[in-house]
Amino acid sequence: MEITAELVAEHGLSTDEYERVVKELGREPNYVELGIFSVMWSEHCSYKSSRVHLKGFPTTGPQVIEGPGENAGVVDIGEGLACVFKMESHNHPSFIEPYQGAATGVGGIMRDIFTMGARPVANLNSLFFGTFQHKKTPYLIDGVVAGIAGYGNCMGVPTVGGALYLNDSYSGNCLVNVMTAGIVKTDKIFKGTATGTGNPIIYVGSKTGRDGIHGATMASDVFGEGGEERRPTVQVGDPFTEKLLLEACLELFKTDYIVGIQDMGAAGLTSSSVEMASRGGAGIEIDMDRIPRREEGMTSYELLLSESQERMLIVAKQGMEDKVKAIFTKWDLDCEVVGKVIKEETVRILEGGQIVADIPVTILTESAPQYDRPAEKPAWQDTVQALDMGSVPAPDDYNEVLLRLLASPNISSRESIYSQFDFMVRSDTVVSPGSDAAVVRIKGTNRSIALTVDCNPLHCYLDPRAGASAAVAEAARNLVVSGARPLALTDCLNFGNPERPEIMWQFREAIAGIKASCHALNVPVIGGNVSLYNETRGEGIYPTPSIGMLGLIEDNSLITRQWFQEAGHVIALLGSTRPGLGGTEYLRSIHGLEQGVAPKVNLEEEKSLHKACLEVIKTGIILSAHDCSEGGLAVALAEAALNPTGPVGVDVDLGVTPNLRSDELLFAETHGRIILSLTENNLSILEGICAAHGVPLQVIGRTVEHGFAVKGLINTSLKSLESAFRDSLSPLIRGEATP
């Protein structure tokens, strides 16, 4: 096929980029090669708009075994074990086909984890949709949740936590960010490397179909029979096959038959073979005639670009082919030797004995274009930050305000969502969804890992740097209140069109914010992904740097939950409330304003707070610990009161602070605050630790039998809190209630 300018454009390559291809290659590429370049030089694979900015993340530390670059990052969790984890986005597919889009997202991230040798032990998700004013929202939420459940439940990997945030900016672009953590022995970590000239390359898993071949192919390729049917661009997940693939791979990992293994994810066979060759400093030769296929008449182009799910590429040791095959045959999976590792550092594709593509590896990877796109602060940025507090009337009835906040889709109980996820399978889930962080024990040890996902997009919209910095700080705080020491994070950077300078500005600012928090709190970034072009009709999403963080609890007796336990305990507030209501859920849902200066994290104070909290939890005197975030102190107290095993009454007095309005006192989202409960006789221990770390401590009240009272401001029943919090989201998703 002749390579025309139109064909190049359809493959998403600019004229400059195509000229670069020709220059690097020293000739015109053929059609198959053009396809390979189109995926390898795509934003998704090459990170061409973001790579220059991603440099400078802290990625090391004594706990880091594997930083960014492999399929997923790995951290040491002691006793010869490591945790492998990563978060990834599957935004666009989920908007088109919510069930399958979300399901295949979950399938893909789990493969990234078990390809490293780890058994997945926990899934999390971070979901962003339009508000319920948009007709499509319930349909999208319902489908995405069912898709995540359908895949994760069938795999037998518990979905232990997540986040849901609704905002109009997501009405045309929902975000589905999924995270998986797995456990592996530190001496049994596998990598996606192709080494050893002559070693066989083995394809395992499902057969290849025409799934997910990019739009360019659909436009340019000649349709075969049944041409009236649009070829599918959305992949269908098969969790059953993936479960078999998981068990077969884990069986394989106990042997010494292989040298490397790589998931075939986005861009399928192409990117997996290029990545393996690149990491191994070798070349790869693959014979298309041997690729297991689901449909007749598939071309090399299609086989290379297909995104069929549940497939892996293995580099085995010579002579081990039959032993590898025996394992996959036991699990009823396809397994074929499709090529070999070659010395020459090139990706060579054969079909019918002829070479149909031959591209030096470095051209596909290192020579890929990199852009430092222009960035400019949006003209509206200062306007949205302006907030005249005089125009925000103080409410008459704070009882009603609190109930409305608890019923807000951004705060209310997510039980109707997480009850669809099997969050208990593997029988390791110690802290189930609903508390600040999920806690999963490690059998055979007295240790647990704690996991959380966080991001407040409204704060990021008002101030991308402050919002992103806060997302990291809040994730760390959520781990700390659970009794865990933060070890490392993974991020999903979801933004609009990077070719617009204001989006690039948001992106750069957010990255600066993440870096600042990572450095201050000593939490390295060990992997993640970037999702750009989340935009419809020129409307970009709010900047959404989702943070997934892992923490370690070295003694299971120190696991702490957010809920008050019973009447008669002292309630203490660590940290202090500052003036300002910018970006609060209160301002948004009660006053209809998405405005103001977003709260900034004071990183020095935050660091001391975490130290003090972990230290006091270690003494064993803390009965509950809860982070203050969306909705502020009042909502945090209510959440702590609503213990799933039965609500606990609250009687507090926040005192009078001269520079704070009552609504600020109750609903400001100042960072760096934690609510603890403990018995009165242990108070002096807490005071000592807080004083030593310079952390402000205020005893604000007690837990009681009945009622929820904040002196002079709120006095309501636990029952009304409970029904506002628990019964609000489900009717909205079912379309039975109007927002």
Binding site: P232, V234, D332
Partner: protein, 79 residues
């Protein structure tokens, strides 16, 4: 009037259910089976006179709810 709606996966879309059933049939020695595709069958009761815009509306129902045109085809039969 009654309408029957058949929803099937588009050609080329992976059908994990069909594949698993095919595998089971093979294990049970029904070797003659070469492929299984599983779809959905729905019966709709409509309260409309014949000859109106029911065909158009049925198609709309399929497009918008009963099938997802991204991965599924539908066929409508009327009694």
């Amino acid at each position: 009037m009654k309408a029957k709606v058949y929803v099937t996966l588009k050609k080329g879309v992976l059908d994990p259910q069909g594949r698993a059933v095919l595998g089971a049939l093979k294990h049970m020695d029904f070797d003659e089976v070469t492929d299984v595709r599983i779809g959905k069958f729905m019966e709709l009761e409509l309260d409309v006179p014949e000859g109106g815009d029911e065909d158009k509306r049925l198609a709309e129902m399929c497009e918008r709810l009963l099938a997802n045109p991204v991965i599924e085809n539908y066929r409508i039969e009327r009694d």
